[in-house]
Assembly symmetry: D2
Homo-oligomer: 344 residues x 4
């Protein structure tokens, strides 16, 4: 309580940048010291609301000597350079997913990240959701015996704008990447990927040769099988479920109810209001907990923040899924965990 | 299996008589030996479908020497005389509820029933419902500690015909009587009754000065409190729930689903089809188990059949509720269990 | 947004005072200007955390000229005098329930409250719970037709300290009073009360001649019947449910889940973690919304804050229930709504 | 009602044969005329209980002239010859799944079945389950818009004996075959199969090189994707769920509860008893409805019985899944529906 707040520089003030700015402002152990955005008006508005100085120059903010840590929420193509600059400046980083759409760029930075004296964390917020985290802890505690199957259903309420789809890297790198990391939250060492995608309803996907519907199967080195079901739309609201099936039982995460009220009539009974709108509502607690973990990481305390290696692994799985779904059949992957101490 | 079937004479072939005839025909240990109804066509049709001889004379059937037991499903005013004739003939009886609408007639027959060499069972079918019976067994096994509150919700889908309401004895003697017995299934020694009734929607109730809506509170000698919620209609289907609340937990009986299917749309999620239509569907298993218990009783085996005393107790509670709801305030009752060996 | 914050003086810094202090501090339209408590250390600690000056003298705070409104969260016996002083000072009041344990003192203040130029609101927070408020709005919108039965289950996790029971005024005035107000939220004009209480498990209740278990039935002037089920303990957690049964359907409020996770094993399926601990968690949103309504009231805007008359009506029902449960049978009540303009 | 009963000859009196014998005996429109089993004692016991003559010679029973139809429930290797003999004898056939483990034998018989004057139905009982059938009808009625994803979870309570595994044809041909048919119940024209299998817990699977855990993905010609999750064991009981996800909503089939009772304690709330033991309980209604459909087929009435072609299609999918899961990647399939009139 008496320790100084962690001074954070936020880069990027789009939708997810706003989430992080609000989380920093609400956290008693953090302080929004600076905000950078090439659209400087966005930086100014965010700083006015949540604190800190505003700039259009992220590099200057990183080099300012006023920061204890950097939070990168700018567009994906900027991530690698900003991570690089931050670790050079000796600042711990929390970077939004994905690291980059190109695994070569990710790999090129890898030696520098490994050699750095500061940690690089990846923004896989769902690991910090109380329900998913509880299931993982209870699986680890043996409540369902050996984990045999993991089923993840992840459907967004509505497809993103067509322009976004064009630069997203495709459904696997943009959307399923969260589920790949969730799979690895339970089963880090995935060795095989098989994916099937379809273009059923979204014009953006049609225009850009992407899928709007996909099912992906992963196999862990231990033989456990993961099934991921994705859709870019969901009439019933944000659909985020998980089922861990083990030798002696199963743990299930239901969708979050938006109300405790149900209606029964002659037409139907026990009908509830639709699920939550989107990730800001569903994962509000997770974003706060993600920041707590990053603060602990910055302070050198015990932390569960996912790592740069986790971000790289998720991208490798996304690449494999993309290849599988476009004629590549079943794709073997090697996430290289034998070489990475502590990665699993 | 090799024991002879119990030869049963059925009196009354209305709706509930049909239920019993079908149950007897389907039971490998029972045989429908004779069917009596003053409307002899009803007796003939039932006998043709489920077996046995048909007659319009119940007394002759009872005295025929062809029976091992009698099942009385005729109109309520005939019950006392038919029970009397049956025990005189040395035949065990299963009589539909209520014994009679007049407690004086019930009491007048009591000594004869107590002195009889054959048992008289009452048709409180809900005791044999698997869910209610399971809750009682689990309460007895201590799963929720000492029972403190029992909440019963019992709503019929639709009000009976106005003519029936006029001869029904009122909602407490006709409908709540099942719930009084259910209360005593858990807490036999009720000592206090308080009831509130309203006439809200049913023309039959209005015409005959009856209630269509009622809430009744019972107190057991041990202090446990029972709450009974009744309505003569229910738009969502037959509403039959129970909650046993104890010192260390609670056991709840939900309404029976009519389907495993639920629908989720943008308007509402997890909506299920309405509940069952009525008691024939809801309590089908209970009627079969009720007959099994009666057969065991006839054979002198261990049996859980409710007794004539149970029927009398339920009527005493109904009378007290009627008095309470019509200006009598809280009514003390003495079900006389100190005098009745084994009644609780 | 640009309007000045409402400057609130908080009196009382016990458990519920803390809830209000935190709500005021978190509300962008309110400011904690002063905190009074006869235990001045409590006032100081609260002021240090949430703002404002600290004093042990509530009257001085009220008379300070620094306030726009008063929030009374001190012990019940102080309420009447503090309300009186506040309205004399021309300050709107939000007072915790109950107004007083003695209806005569409540009635004595009534003319002054009615004549006052400022409003007096009562702290019936549950009206502001999103689920209960939604049910009331949906009933009003006709989703279940005419309201016929209202069932409220309200069980605290654990009995209060024995000392508290001794000064609480009894279960009906202390605990059920929330449910009486909830009943009147749906059916303002209650005309009849019948209550049954038992002393089953709590030593405090035994010592002080109170009940720890109670069932209360209310009848509205329109004939609708309310059933309230209370217990001073609940092994499964805070148990707060409501069912509105109408001519064409029903609306139900379930207990709030504490997790989205369920466990299925060979022993039991779909088991969820226990319900919430207590009212602070369950009604967190309600306390915030209650404050919003009070701020609107202070500003002369449209507001749903329950009134002093509502507080008086709930106490009249509690008194009637106490009388009924201690030998008074069914008790007629006249909440005097014909004389109170706008009361429902 | 007045039409003559369909005289059925049953071949095979193992577990599934017993199910059919009981269904025939209980069906008012069917009669068990003869029972054949090479273990003649089984035939005799079944005939003694459910009716008909007993023989160890199935061919003689088929040729007896006493039958209107044949129901084949003998071991899989006998199916093709018995179907052949039956259609030669001009008798309609209901044959248990799978037709055979060898697609060549199935194809060899195909011309004869197509040319036959009598229909051959396949025992895909799950199509007749009220819940699955209701979902299909509601999807067809447009309740969820265009069907985009179908998720099937199908887990047996416990692995079969190791000996059985050895002759079962493997998990895809033995167990998943039901799910392949269920997939085709909704989406007949499957064009692509991808499967992943593991050997995690079952010694029988280990011994015989089979999988005990599998996830299979199918793609329909319309682009809809099916996900099938299988396990040979399930600690929570028979796990049979389905989710149809469409453009405007979803329909879900839950596991069948074995009781209406739930238990809440300080440890866990709303815990229900485990699911049903196995298919006999879960699909009891389905077997009766399957027989009804077959009787209608025999009588030349409108019938929904799955066909020999459906049996062949399921086997083609099982073969493709086996190939995929053993190194074959994604396998294209051609179920030949362009050539088979009315098959979809």
């Amino acid at each position: 309580m008496t320790r100084a707040s962690v001074r954070i520089g936020l880069i990027g003030t789009g939708r997810i940048g706003q989430v992080h700015a609000a989380a920093i402002a609400a956290n008693p152990h953090a302080e929004l010291t600076g905000v950078a955005d090439v659209f400087v008006d966005g930086a100014r508005a965010t700083a006015a609301r949540f604190g800190g100085i505003a700039t259009d120059n992220a590099e200057e903010l990183i080099a300012s000597g006023q920061l204890d840590a950097v939070l990168i929420a700018s567009p994906t193509p900027t991530h690698v350079d900003l991570i690089s600059a931050s670790v050079e400046a000796g600042l711990p980083v929390l970077c939004e997913k994905p690291i980059d759409l190109d695994i070569n760029r990710v790999d090129a930075l890898l030696p520098k990240v490994r050699a750095a004296s500061v940690p690089v964390a990846l923004g896989f917020n769902r690991r910090f959701d109380p329900a998913f985290a509880a299931v993982r802890a209870r699986v680890a505690a043996g409540e369902i015996g050996s984990l045999e199957q993991l089923s993840i259903i992840s459907r967004d309420p509505a497809a993103p704008p067509a322009d976004y789809v064009g630069v997203s890297g495709g459904i696997f790198r943009d959307m399923t990447i969260h589920d790949f990391d969730m799979a690895r939250f339970f089963l880090p060492d995935i060795v095989e990927v098989s994916a099937t995608g379809s273009q059923l309803f979204d014009d953006g996907a049609r225009t850009h040769g992407d899928f709007d519907t996909a099912v992906t199967t992963l196999r862990s080195s231990c033989g456990a099988i993961v099934s991921i079901t994705n859709s870019r739309h969901s009439a019933v609201g944000y659909d985020q479920r998980l089922e861990a099936f083990g030798a002696t039982g199963m743990l299930q995460v239901a969708n979050a109810p938006t109300s405790l009220v149900s209606l029964s009539t002659a037409a139907a009974v026990e009908a509830k209001p639709p699920y939550q709108d989107f990730f800001l509502e569903r994962y509000a607690e997770a974003y706060a907990a993600e920041l707590d973990a990053f603060i602990a990481l910055v302070r050198g305390e015990k932390s569960d923040s996912p790592t740069y290696e986790d971000g790289r692994a998720a991208l490798l799985l996304a690449d494999a899924a993309q290849r599988s779904a476009t004629g590549g059949g079943t794709v073997a992957v090697d996430l290289g965990f034998s070489a990475v101490a502590g990665a699993a």
